[in-house]
Symmetry: C2
Subunit: 255 residues, 2 copies
């Protein structure tokens, strides 16, 4: 995919042009283009491989409220914190209503994994852990604008969730309303998040330097998502070199 | 390689036993066991692949003085800081004597890479950057003992440097006294570092809990080294999926 980016002038692009540039990053770099996802959504992975995906991706899921807490900690704007706070609740849930992390564990259990093993992240690939921690650190160390911008990959996520739900239902026995609840729920939740985050960035990135920082933040994020799939592909697809200590799949039957 | 670790009792192992446990980590997990290194040292990689290795490994080389500075910043012990400080000088050099980072750049240039491109780390794999930053963050966030222990992979490094020098001279045209100066110099420098670091850890890790932390720190470090080679293998050997934006080798001739 060869995408040509506009040169960003010193005074910045107008909002419409800038949004187009942001969307180009998705076209070029979002992980829906990664061969691992093609295999996953096309029903080409066996149960052990899907287990590996689910338990590694748990690291990412469980990092999300921590990165959102870093964003809350960065701003003195009560309104912004109040708006952003629901993201933490979406993932952590309440005493009575499970959140996204719990839904992810239900998916993992539906794949035959032990909840405690998944939560321990003991079997996750080191590359996954480094990538997820890089995301948490990015939101801790960078300015508020950059930290918020790093969430904008949500712009590209609706399509992948739909493809995934359809592909899973078509191809895998483990797929049902319970195990896929995480993705269905995100289809409801994400549009609100996308709308807010995009409006924030289009408003606040009001010169070329800030727009460049936003572009870099979104590319950082697409890199960290892509890296996780590279690591899964290397360990569990081809050539299948599992690093010392990581999850060893046993079940090669269809998922 | 299946290594059986001793259970560490609450009061800790004696020094000799504990050192044996540390050395087992090397036997099981040090990156001299990684298939990428077998290809590299055996002359099986073409020039573009060796270039990819050199420019990615530059990220690691250039992270070393930053992790050492984090270690200095952690201790109020002037003697320890004085002893540890020479590591920074080893890598950064002085006004008149080049350091390890400069020697690495000479190697990269000997492979036909542009110095500025290498130093920018623009072409490095995101996985490399995440792993190297994880190392710098580890030394920033963990206690002094753990931070020092994460350097102990030096225990296992002498052999790999010797194998590398011999393998490079046997197989690659770019290998000569200048391009290999980094590795020869490390053969002189490392024994002092190893001796000090090992003695420090054997003395300070005086109960089971601290010994366990030291083991974890060394495993963290072997993981971050291994991850870098997994990423190189995936991108540049098999299946050869280069992530968006990373270095694209052009030269498939022998190195």
């Amino acid at each position: 995919m060869s995408v040509v980016y506009r040169k960003i002038p010193k005074q910045g692009l107008n909002k419409q042009e800038f949004e187009q540039e942001l969307r180009k990053i998705g076209e070029e770099r979002y992980h829906d283009k990664h061969p691992f996802h093609h295999l996953l959504h096309g029903g080409k992975l066996n149960k052990g491989q899907v287990q590996a995906w689910a338990l590694n991706r748990y690291c990412y899921q469980s990092a999300i409220p921590r990165k959102d807490a870093n964003i809350l900690a960065k701003t003195t704007d009560v309104g912004l914190r109040r708006e952003w706070r629901h993201r933490i609740e979406d993932h952590d849930g309440t005493e009575t209503a499970p959140g996204g992390i719990e839904r992810w564990l239900v998916l993992a259990e539906g794949l035959g994994l032990e909840r405690d093993y998944v939560m321990s992240t003991r079997g996750a690939l080191p590359a996954t852990r480094f990538a997820c921690e890089a995301y948490v650190n990015f939101t801790r160390n960078m300015p508020l604008l950059d930290a918020i911008a790093s969430s904008l990959t949500e712009l590209f996520a609706a399509e992948i969730h739909k493809t995934r739900i359809a592909g899973f239902l078509d191809h895998y026995k483990f797929a049902n309303d319970q195990t896929l609840a995480y993705f269905r729920k995100r289809l409801d939740q994400a549009p609100r998040d996308v709308k807010f985050g995009l409006a924030y960035v289009l408003r606040e990135a009001d010169d070329g330097e800030k727009q460049k920082r936003v572009m870099d933040a979104v590319m950082f994020k697409t890199d960290m998502l892509w890296t996780q799939l590279d690591a899964l592909y290397h360990a569990y697809v081809e050539p299948g070199h599992i690093p010392p200590g990581a999850f060893m799949p046993e079940d090669r039957r269809p998922a």
